[in-house]
């Protein structure tokens, strides 16, 4: 069974990841896929706010690392997928093509103000993925 969690480094995403790990712990032969999408719309500002292209890579790595450690701590097998593009589109594409059985996602991410204008990633993902989805508050 493939359980996926989409994260963006926010508190909310961390709670979603914890929930996904709990699910994976109790389901037989379940493993976890941690999905992180580097948003095209933030590409310029992310580069400007990192010292170098390498430190940008490190920053992204640091967003998934705590979750991998949590999973490892309770013996859940986990794999990381780093994607680039529009977060909701990339998550939907990945989840549908990889035949994920269960997706877990935080109810809102890092940018509340932007989401009020553009609509939230979790909302769009919920409408278009083919598998059951859990939205964690």
């Amino acid at each position: 069974m493939k359980i996926a969690v989409a994260i963006d480094g926010s508190e909310n995403a961390l709670r979603a990841a914890k929930h996904a790990i709990t699910l994976a712990q109790y389901l037989p032969e379940a493993h976890l896929e941690v999905i992180y999408v580097a948003d095209y719309d933030k590409a310029r500002d992310e580069r400007l706010l990192s010292q170098s292209p390498e430190s940008l890579t490190l920053k992204r790595e640091q967003k998934v690392q705590p979750i991998l450690e949590l999973a490892k701590g309770v013996g859940v097998k986990a794999k990381v997928t780093m994607l680039k593009g529009n977060p909701s589109q990339e998550i939907i594409k990945y989840v549908n093509s990889e035949e994920i059985d269960q997706l877990v996602i935080g109810s809102r991410g890092l940018n509340t103000l932007q989401e009020m204008v553009l609509g939230s990633v979790s909302h769009k993902v919920m409408k278009h993925v083919n598998c059951p989805i859990t939205i964690v508050k």
Partner: protein, 469 residues
């Protein structure tokens, strides 16, 4: 890196579609940048066409969109005001030559020396300056001007919520121009600034005296344009490298920018460079290859010729609205958080860069000063050397070089032992000054008949020490 064939034809359908979107997205800003410099709209539109087409062939980063830009426009404002268009064109040609030479010398490798705090200062000052340039058109004008500018601004932010196929600024311009024409409101239009081109750009030599006097006028501008253009182009290349997970040849990009500006000057266009916003639009629309940039340029020329007569009817306040949006997106709003979280020296470098640019109205001077200040901060930071006296002798921590030797020497002022061991395990000797400092300490101590023993030099330090003593 892909083969040239892949760079051109690896993504044909998506490249053409993305190129068309970018072509549309280039118009509003090119018009507005012309308006900032105070030149005929065609100077910026032709520039955008030639620069996009030429860089699609000779640029280093497939998918990068180069055209007339706000940063270059801001550099040209005072040259245009004091000397006129012919000097702007000559400066553009000279910029091309300088960039081509710098690219040949490998200038892109210097990009490493521009810290992100300087780049942040650059984009923030750029955003602020673009905003300021729009104020004269608003302050003290008619209330209708305000209404049109504000509605345009609202539209460019609201449209993408419902509709993303055509760039929002263009939709806003079409809507607002139609409203202005139908309602018959009296507003300043682009036509009041200059004529629109309905012909192809033609080759001509700038009408300037070819003498030392001219060079003296244009050279400082060309140097500034070269620095600003390369900084923005290489920054954009890095952003696209990251977005597409591919690498690109930055020195080739620098040379490509040079060739594009060189040629553009002869076709009556103003200097340009990479556009971060339009390049990101290109990638988001699916553009990846060189064909996308070429399509953008060619489609832009088609639009210029077809739409020439309509473009002159665009009301200025609408362009002001578009430019205010450009200034808001250019400014990096994460900078406030950066100021709070980053090391004090980096925050200071960012603020100094912004302050110098706003004070001198010169982006290049700000960037160069920022790099110098940050280099000094860096030297100060790594020149910390501590010497601790423990049971097994004096331990040196930190690199020993010209900036850190004074402190090292002073640490041995009050030695009371008869025998001293100096341990360099956690240090590194970098230059003559370092070796000289050790020699000096040794001499000083031996005069007081203290025995000195040097220990723990790593192999490169040891070599340097032996070579110089």
């Amino acid at each position: 890196m892909y083969t040239l064939k892949q760079q051109w034809f690896g993504n044909v359908r998506a490249d053409i579609l993305a190129g068309i979107v970018v072509g549309l997205a280039l118009i509003p800003e090119a018009l507005a940048f012309a308006f900032i410099v105070g030149v005929d709209p065609r100077v910026a539109l032709y520039a955008s066409f030639t620069i996009a087409v030429i860089t699609s062939f000779v640029g280093g980063r497939p998918g990068l969109i180069s055209a007339a830009t706000g940063a270059m426009a801001l550099v040209l404002v005072s040259l245009m005001a004091n000397h006129g268009l012919q000097y702007v064109l000559a400066a553009t040609i000279l910029t091309g030559i300088i960039q081509l030479i710098l690219g040949g010398l490998g200038v892109a490798n210097l990009m490493r020396f521009i810290p992100n705090s300087v780049m942040l200062g650059f984009v923030n000052a750029l955003g602020i300056m673009i905003f300021i340039t729009q104020m004269p058109y608003l302050l003290g004008s008619t209330s209708m001007t305000y209404v049109f500018a504000i509605i345009t601004l609202i539209l460019v932010y609201a449209i993408p919520r419902f509709f993303t196929a055509i760039p929002a600024p263009l939709v806003a311009i079409v809507v607002m121009t139609s409203i202005a024409l139908i309602s018959g409101v009296k507003l300043l239009t682009i036509g009041d600034l200059g004529t629109m081109p309905n012909s192809l750009p033609a080759f001509f030599l700038p009408d300037i005296p070819l003498n030392f006097e001219t060079l003296k006028i244009i050279f400082p501008y060309s140097v500034a344009l070269s620095i600003v253009g390369l900084l923005e182009s290489l920054l954009t290349s890095q952003v696209l490298d990251d977005m597409t997970d591919t690498s690109s040849n930055k020195n080739k990009e620098a040379r490509g920018q040079g060739i594009a500006n060189f040629v553009t000057g002869f076709f009556g266009g103003m200097a340009g460079c990479a556009l971060i916003g339009q390049s990101i639009i290109n990638i988001k629309s699916g553009g990846r290859g060189r064909l996308s940039t070429l399509t953008a340029g060619v489609f832009l020329l088609f639009l210029i010729i077809v739409l020439g007569d309509i473009v002159i009817k665009i009301p200025m306040p609408v362009l002001v609205g578009v430019m205010i949006m450009v200034s808001i997106t250019t400014f990096n709003w994460g900078s406030f958080k950066f100021l709070k979280q980053a090391p004090k020296s980096e925050s200071l470098v960012m603020l100094i860069t912004v302050a110098i640019i706003l004070y001198t109205h010169n982006l290049a001077i700000g960037v160069v000063s920022g790099v110098i200040v940050s280099a000094l901060f860096f030297v100060a930071k790594i020149s910390r050397v501590t010497v601790t006296n423990g049971l097994d002798g004096y331990k040196v921590e930190g690199p020993l070089f010209f900036a850190s030797t004074t402190k090292f020497i002073q640490s041995f002022d009050n030695v009371t032992e008869n025998e001293v061991v100096i341990n360099f395990e956690n240090s590194q000797l970098w230059d003559e000054s370092a070796v000289g400092a050790i020699v000096k300490v040794k001499q000083k101590l031996e005069q007081k008949s203290v025995k000195v023993q040097i220990e723990g030099l790593n192999s490169s330090s040891e070599q340097l020490y032996k070579r110089l003593t």
